[in-house]
């Protein structure tokens, strides 16, 4: 019968489409599979075991590693430091990047020079930035303490004083992430139509009013994106910690990913570190979901 004939044909065609679809996706699927899904599953598997010095699973530990995560003397302080770090870096980066973007979002002669300058930290790797800041932070030969000395103030232990070290690392991180976020926000600003500003001006809105009532609402999808990426980035900060402080002094900058690295590699406790990684995964997942849920209402999609 013609209908079933057509149905079979359609079914065959849809199978062919699925196959070719998978074919197209296969490079991406394979890469995601090898570098994302497999490590994820393996991490989950290892988190249930005690591992030896080679990182091989030797004894089944069940939930013992997870229990140890929450009772260890380092995990919770490390989580606290990470949250503090997020609070220090994310709002500051957004505010400064937005300020720079608003300032450069006008047609002036030579404005591209400023735009390029502000975006340039994007081209600096975490390692290079951290090495540079480490030189600036040095207690005796660093520029910061030299300047303090010139104006007659006592030097600060930028990276050696537990009360200051996290701030120093946060400063470095803000500097590093400014470039990219500036660029994204500037792109967002440029897509806001001029008519809206014009009509706001006709209504008598000053520049502050225009920023709060026009720019920010229309920029909200970009701000949401920037916010989520920054939070995830701050949870994953590693390079600058490794170079600046190695988690010290006294654990003051021992961010969660650095803590996991320490346990997995230098301390050879891959099982325990995997459990920490799974916990971190869940935390970031929940945080991102919350961010979506709470800010979505405020986000204005044009």
């Amino acid at each position: 019968m013609p209908t079933t004939e057509r149905g079979r044909k359609r079914r065959r065609r849809s199978w062919v489409e699925v196959a070719s679809g998978i074919g197209y996706l296969s490079p991406a699927l394979l890469i995601l599979g090898v570098f994302l899904f497999y490590p994820l599953v393996k991490t989950g598997y290892l988190s249930a075991f005690v591992t030896n010095v080679r990182g091989d699973a030797v004894n089944l530990a069940g939930l013992e590693n997870y229990w140890n995560v929450f009772t260890s003397s380092t995990f919770l302080p490390s989580m606290r430091v990470t949250l503090l770090f997020t609070l220090m870096t994310v709002p500051c980066t957004i505010v400064i990047a937005l300020l720079l973007a608003v300032m450069t979002n006008r047609r002036l002669r030579g404005i591209t020079v400023f735009r390029t300058t502000y975006a340039s930290t994007m081209a600096v790797s975490a390692a290079a930035a951290a090495v540079m800041f480490r030189a600036l932070f040095h207690p005796s030969s660093g520029a910061f303490n030299k300047i303090l000395d010139l104006v007659g103030l006592p030097g600060v232990g930028w990276l050696t004083d537990p009360a200051v070290a996290l701030i120093s690392v946060a400063l470095t991180t803000i500097w590093m992430s400014l470039g990219f976020n500036f660029l994204v926000l500037l792109g967002g600003l440029q897509s806001i139509p001029d008519e809206l500003y014009e009509s706001a001006m006709i209504d008598g809105a000053g520049s502050w009013r225009r920023l709060v009532n026009v720019t920010i609402p229309l920029l909200s999808p970009v701000l949401l994106f920037v916010g989520i990426v920054l939070v995830i980035d701050s949870f994953q900060s590693f390079g600058q910690i490794d170079i600046l402080t190695q988690g010290g002094p006294a654990g003051a900058t021992n961010l969660i990913v650095y803590e996991i690295y320490q346990n997995a590699f230098p301390r050879n406790q891959v099982g325990f570190a995997s459990a920490q990684a799974v916990v971190l995964f869940v935390i970031v997942l929940v945080l991102t979901a919350l961010q979506f849920k709470f800010s979505e209402k405020k986000v204005h999609y044009q």
Partner: protein
């Protein structure tokens, strides 16, 4: 049609990518002239790397059968992490220099070919090695690795500042109170910001403990059995940390953090008069300073007989996964590095002290000992070192360094030395327990 071919091609390429990472070779890798290629990883930087790679070049030029392919792979810890990830694959090295603290972990991982077997096969005479070094490297009375570079901590000081401050540079301070008085004199005279600096790291603490004959771990620092308990929170440990804390509180001792790269520059520029540093940096210091460098023994508490710091440095490891002939070839190079002549030039060119006793008869070393004070002092200090489990150092899967550094920083921040050392020792004991459980 074309589209479908493309997607199949993409899938096939991707599948090929995953399959191509297999390995397993039983015959040695050879170069164009049929020479055996030995991949050698090391952790030497700057001057010390130039010296080591110079010996590699010499060895390669001296014969046609073996070529050593040397590369820097990061500092000891980084390199060890890399090794553990790559062991068993074709990217792993055949021969590697690792910090002397890595012994227990590498042995337990089972990736090394016990050096003793290659020593016996080649008929290498281990009695040429300085007895204390040989003993420090032996585990269960055999060599699992070959000592290649040994160093000891020395008190480096700025002779000019000592003279200006009215101190005698030919009689450097050694006891805790002498160090304190000297620092006070230097700071009071306005010559320096701080008298002394040391790494805020396990290293100096370990040396200060060893120098007073104190153990860090039970079972003789892990030398008469696997260690189970950390005991560095002893009276001596607390006394030492209290001495350091008081120096820091009175602004006599500077805290530049955990890295040598931050410790050395202030000493080079004369902001600090004394630093505790490894003798292996003697030649580096000689090049970086424009003042006369003095050297003294590691500090010791008042009234205690100094026994010498730990025997630090690096060992060479050969790996079981490498083909037999590559292992033999690697050992030829190890043998070369241990010849009295090479050891003497290595010691003279870096500040490490020689492994082989006969190196002390070589003019290269005797001249360097006359010319460079820190090399002379380091070697004299070795001569005076007692061979006890304290100075031989720990053999353990857990190093106390980081835990001690954390405690140390808490103490600088105002915490009580005893409480912090107790807490650190408890953490280390816990880590030792889990290590022993997982690596039987």
């Amino acid at each position: 049609m074309r589209r479908r071919t493309f997607s199949f091609a993409a899938a096939a390429t991707a599948a090929g990518l995953t399959l191509s990472s297999c390995n397993g070779s039983s015959s040695a890798e050879r170069g164009p002239n049929d020479e055996i290629i030995v991949t050698f990883w090391h952790s030497m930087r700057g001057n010390n790397a130039e010296q080591l790679e110079g010996f590699v070049q010499e060895f390669n030029d001296s014969q046609d059968d073996v070529r050593i392919d040397a590369s820097f792979q990061g500092m000891y810890d980084e390199a060890q992490t890399k090794l553990m990830q790559l062991a068993g694959t074709k990217d792993a090295p055949d021969l590697m220099q690792l910090g002397s603290g890595a012994k227990r972990e590498i042995i337990d991982s089972g990736i090394a070919r016990p050096m003793q077997e290659l020593v016996d096969a080649a008929g290498f005479d281990t009695s040429t090695i300085q007895p204390s070094i040989l003993q420090s490297r032996q585990v269960d009375e055999m060599l699992h690795s070959m000592p290649q570079a040994t160093s000891a901590t020395v008190l480096f000081f700025n002779r000019e500042l000592f003279e200006k401050g009215g101190l005698d540079p030919d009689d450097p301070p050694q006891t805790y109170s002498e160090i304190r008085d000297a620092s006070q004199a230097l700071v009071d005279s306005g010559l320096v910001d701080h008298g002394i600096a040391m790494l805020t790291d396990g290293g100096p603490f370990t040396d200060l403990m060893a120098n007073q004959g104190e153990l860090l771990y039970d079972h003789d620092n892990g030398r008469s059995g696997k260690p189970t308990t950390a005991i560095f929170n002893s009276h001596a440990g607390v006394e030492t940390m209290t001495w350091i804390r008081d120096l820091h509180e009175d602004r006599l001792l500077a805290n530049f953090g955990r890295s040598y790269d931050d410790l050395r520059p202030p000493w080079y520029t004369g902001d600090v008069a004394m630093i505790l540093d490894t003798s292996a940096a003697s030649i580096i210091h000689d090049g970086e300073t424009d003042f006369e460098v003095g050297a003294g023994y590691v500090p010791v508490p008042d009234g205690v007989d100094p026994q010498g710091p730990t025997i630090g440095g690096a060992d060479l490891w050969i790996f079981a996964d490498s083909p037999e002939e590559t292992q033999t070839a690697a050992f030829e190079f190890v043998d070369h590095l241990l010849s009295p002549d090479v050891q003497a030039r290595w010691a003279a060119g870096t500040g490490y002290y020689p492994i082989t006793t006969a190196s002390y008869d070589e003019p290269a070393l005797t001249t360097a000992m006359e010319e460079i004070e820190s090399i002379r002092v380091a070697n004299e200090q070795v001569g005076d070192t007692e061979t006890t489990p304290a100075s031989l150092g720990i053999i353990a899967g857990v190093t106390p360094s980081e835990y001690v550094a954390d405690a140390w920083e808490q103490i600088y921040d105002g915490a009580d030395p005893k409480d912090e050392l107790d807490a650190a020792a408890k953490e280390v004991t816990g880590a030792l327990e889990s290590y022993n459980d997982a690596n039987d």
